[in-house]
């Protein structure tokens, strides 16, 4: 069955490795074996996809991550919702990218690349997505509501594209070292490094965008270990890119960086999946028993890489790095180190017996001087080839920062804003003057991102507002009025600041959990971010009714038929009711979920009659207490959090610009020639 598909892909992988692709001229045979590997991986992936789409709940993975009510897009994305499936996805992407790579790769390079694939398949063997349950349930648990979002659907595949992209420089490095072909290495590796950088960076930004739009707390980054596990390799890749871009090459540094970056990718995987951070991170998986295996894999790869590097260290020659390259790399690696240190702190302190975590302020404060220097370097990019390249940008920054500092009396903040404002401007001007050279677009985009980050972090304001239906309140210099609950959400009208708009934040029950969906009013200069915190109703008297009985209230007849057994999951009780008025009858199924610390009610709306029914209490004797009310008229109290976040748009616009700039650079730079200017 599929197990044999697995074993075949293992055999393909091992047979290919054993054939020592590097040693003997068996090139063609190995190519076909590798194609077999790609074929079997694709087969396995197709199988999982079909199982998910066809609701085959007897498979544990399908049971835990899907349900019959899941829309088609998320049936597909549930493929990578859990650990086993995401490893399969990673392996699949790795297989296909490896196929592209094999067209230009030398045998030894493919050997090392295949090693990384082998590592993934080993993980997969021990964490089989095709495990069966003992009994076949008729319904699945459903996908985590937070993952039912288009951004979250594409986030993992793009991140894995990035990881795979970084495995290639790793493989190229080891092969180049062993075969003593360091000279050609930079030319071959740069495009792949750029590719990995673009994908990983895009994946990170998409994750931030998701956090901003879905999580409702108004932020986009929380320095969570899982977030950092992707950020640290990305920072290191950025350093590698700059090292590779300098001509002539700073060989030793580049090799070390290429190897270390991939090891950090593996380490990041370890962080995410080992359960070590379960107590400190909202994201991480619970302990899946993987820790030992992952750690062993990292150690093996690390030892191998060090051995290869060490054996060739003496013969590696390279140029001394220019000041700007050295400074850039130092800044990026310094930032990576600080983030990594902060992430590891819970583990280190726990090992020392005094467990502690680090406040988010550490990351911001700790990287501040580095970011400042980095901004100055970005600002000086157009002057890169000149001497004293920092001089003019430095003057510009001081010119920009001084009036700001005088106004706000916050010199450090003014300096930071000044640096990235100047960086954005110099690169924008250079982009135009150089006739659209893509690297200026890229650096300008990065400056824009950082400008957005610092301004929104420092100048956001938040207020809490409590409004009754129809009431007008004040928040952030605007009038805000609550018009009532509608099918699209909680209708709000905001006026002021030279305009007005409607907002529809929502509190919905999704998959058994109450999800608070914010409304974001996006603008170039400001985002207005509205989160519903709570909604309280006054629903009138409770109507007590027993099974089979009918109760009359306000011209409506409500009959309680019985409990709806289909909905019985995790403490949820649903009742089947019929409500009749003016000769029309409607069937409704309000529900109640009792939890240890509260209860959630699923209210049944009847638009034709303009009323709603809620299940309030369940008697042990079999009677229920219902509430019948008019949602439009029922007095409500809505608690809101309203925030104004300046320049958040710069984060997304800057990212888009940087990505476009990166793609154009990638397309132009498929070959690297030592005489080519940036």
């Amino acid at each position: 069955m599929v197990l044999s598909a697995f074993l075949s892909s293992v055999v393909a992988g091992i047979g290919w490795g054993l054939a020592s692709w590097g040693r003997r001229p068996m090139g063609n045979l190995c190519r076909w074996v590798y194609r077999g590997h790609v074929f079997f991986m694709s087969l396995a992936a197709l199988r999982l996809l079909l199982l998910l789409i066809n609701h085959r709940f007897e498979y544990a993975y399908v049971y835990y991550h899907t349900s019959t009510s899941l829309p088609p897009l998320y049936l597909v994305s549930s493929f990578w919702a859990g650990h086993e499936g995401s490893i399969l996805l990673w392996g699949l992407i790795g297989a296909w990218v490896g196929l592209v790579f094999s067209r230009t790769a030398r045998p030894l390079e493919m050997f090392f690349y295949n090693l990384t694939q082998l590592g993934l398949i080993t993980l997969l063997l021990l964490n089989n997505p095709f495990a069966l349950l003992e009994a076949a349930p008729t319904e699945g648990l459903g996908l985590n509501p937070l993952l039912q979002d288009p951004w979250m659907a594409i986030h993992p595949p793009i991140i894995f594209l990035g990881y795979v992209g970084l495995a290639i420089p790793f493989a190229l490095s080891l092969a180049a070292l062993l075969e003593r072909k360091e000279g050609e290495w930079a030319q071959k590796t740069l495009p792949w490094t750029l590719f990995g950088w673009l994908c990983l960076g895009s994946g990170i930004i998409i994750g931030a965008l998701w956090a901003y739009e879905v999580l409702g707390w108004g932020g986009y980054w929380s320095w969570d270990p899982v977030e950092n596990a992707a950020l640290v390799p990305w920072l290191m890749t950025t350093a590698l890119l700059h090292g590779q871009s300098q001509k002539p090459g700073i060989t030793r540094t580049n090799f070390v960086l290429a190897i270390a970056t991939y090891l950090m990718v593996l380490l990041g995987t370890f962080v995410t999946r080992s359960g070590l951070f379960a107590d400190f991170s909202v994201h991480s998986f619970a302990d899946l028993g993987l820790g030992g295996l992952l750690l062993t894999k990292i150690v093996l790869f690390g030892v191998l890489a060090l051995a290869v590097l060490g054996s060739r260290w003496q013969t590696l020659r390279g140029q001394k790095a220019s000041f700007s390259s050295a400074a850039t790399i130092a800044v990026l690696l310094g930032a990576a180190f600080i983030v990594a240190l902060g992430t590891a702190t819970p583990l280190i302190t726990a090992a020392l017996g005094r467990p502690a975590s680090l406040e988010a302020s550490f990351y911001n404060k700790g990287t501040f001087p580095l970011a400042l220097l980095g901004g100055l370097l970005i600002a000086s990019f157009p002057w890169l080839e000149r001497r004293h390249s920092l001089f003019i940008p430095g003057i510009l920054v001081l010119a920009a920062a001084t009036p700001m500092a005088a106004l706000t009396r916050q010199p450090l903040q003014a300096l930071f804003i000044g640096v990235f404002l100047v960086a954005l401007l110099t690169n924008a001007v250079a982009w135009v003057v150089s006739r659209w050279r893509s690297s200026y677009l890229l650096h300008g985009g990065m400056a824009m991102i950082l400008l957005g980050i610092i301004v929104s972090a420092n100048f956001s304001t938040t207020e809490r507002v409590v409004l009754g239906t129809g009431e007008i309140g004040q928040a952030l210099g605007r009038e805000i009025r609550y018009l009532g609950a509608t099918l699209s959400g909680l209708e709000l009208e905001l006026t002021g600041q030279g305009g007005s708009f409607k907002a529809f934040p929502r509190i919905v029950s999704q998959g058994g959990e109450m999800v608070r969906k914010p409304h974001i009013n996006r603008g170039l200069l400001n985002d207005v971010y509205i989160t519903p915190l709570g909604l309280q109703y006054d629903w009138g008297p409770g109507l007590r009714v027993g099974k089979g009985e009918t109760v009359v209230h306000g011209g409506y007849e409500v009959t309680f038929h019985g409990f709806d057994l289909k909905g019985h999951q995790g403490g949820r009780v649903a009742t089947q009711l019929t409500i009749a008025a003016d000769g029309a009858e409607h069937q409704v199924v309000p529900a109640l979920t009792i939890r240890p610390n509260g209860r959630e009610q699923e209210i049944a709306y009847v638009p034709d009659l303009g009323v709603a029914l809620a299940l309030d209490e369940i008697d042990p004797g079999g009677e229920v207490v219902l509430r019948l009310f008019h949602p439009d008229a029922a007095p409500q109290v809505l608690i809101l959090e309203v925030s104004q976040r300046p320049l958040i748009s710069f984060l997304w616009i800057g990212s888009l610009l940087a990505i476009v700039g990166g793609i154009m650079t990638l397309l132009q730079r498929k070959g690297y020639s030592p005489d080519q200017k940036h």
């Binding site: 050295a326 502690a356 680090l358 406040e359």
Partner: protein, 111 residues
């Protein structure tokens, strides 16, 4: 020049490290401490949310109970959570939470 900047950065990093360190303590220690700490406890019934914030009670492994108030949006998964973590300062009889940590409900094994 570069060396000087690196040393400066390290100095800044170290000092912000020390000031940002948030020890993970039990409730008895939290109540005595005047600095930012991290606590974890079982969420007790009777959660209230109104204009003064989200108020609830936690109980730690030693059986000690502590009232907590949080002024931000209720994190996803809070309603179904068994254990909740909080980062903040104990002041005037209430733990003022700056950040809440809620683990994904155990039925989700997803990312």
């Amino acid at each position: 020049m570069l060396g000087f900047l690196i040393v400066l950065s390290l100095a800044v990093a170290s000092s912000s490290f020390l000031s940002g360190l948030t020890p993970y303590v039990d409730f008895a220690q939290a109540k005595k401490s005047s600095r930012t700490v991290q606590v974890l406890g079982i969420l007790l019934p009777q959660t209230v949310e109104d204009e003064t914030g989200l108020r609830f009670f936690l109980r730690d492994d030693h059986g000690e109970v502590m009232p907590v108030v949080y002024h931000g949006a209720r994190p996803f998964g809070f309603d179904g959570a068994e254990r909740v973590g909080a980062v903040g300062i104990y002041k005037d009889g209430v733990f003022q939470a700056q950040r809440l940590l809620v683990k994904c409900p155990s039925k989700y094994r997803g990312e």
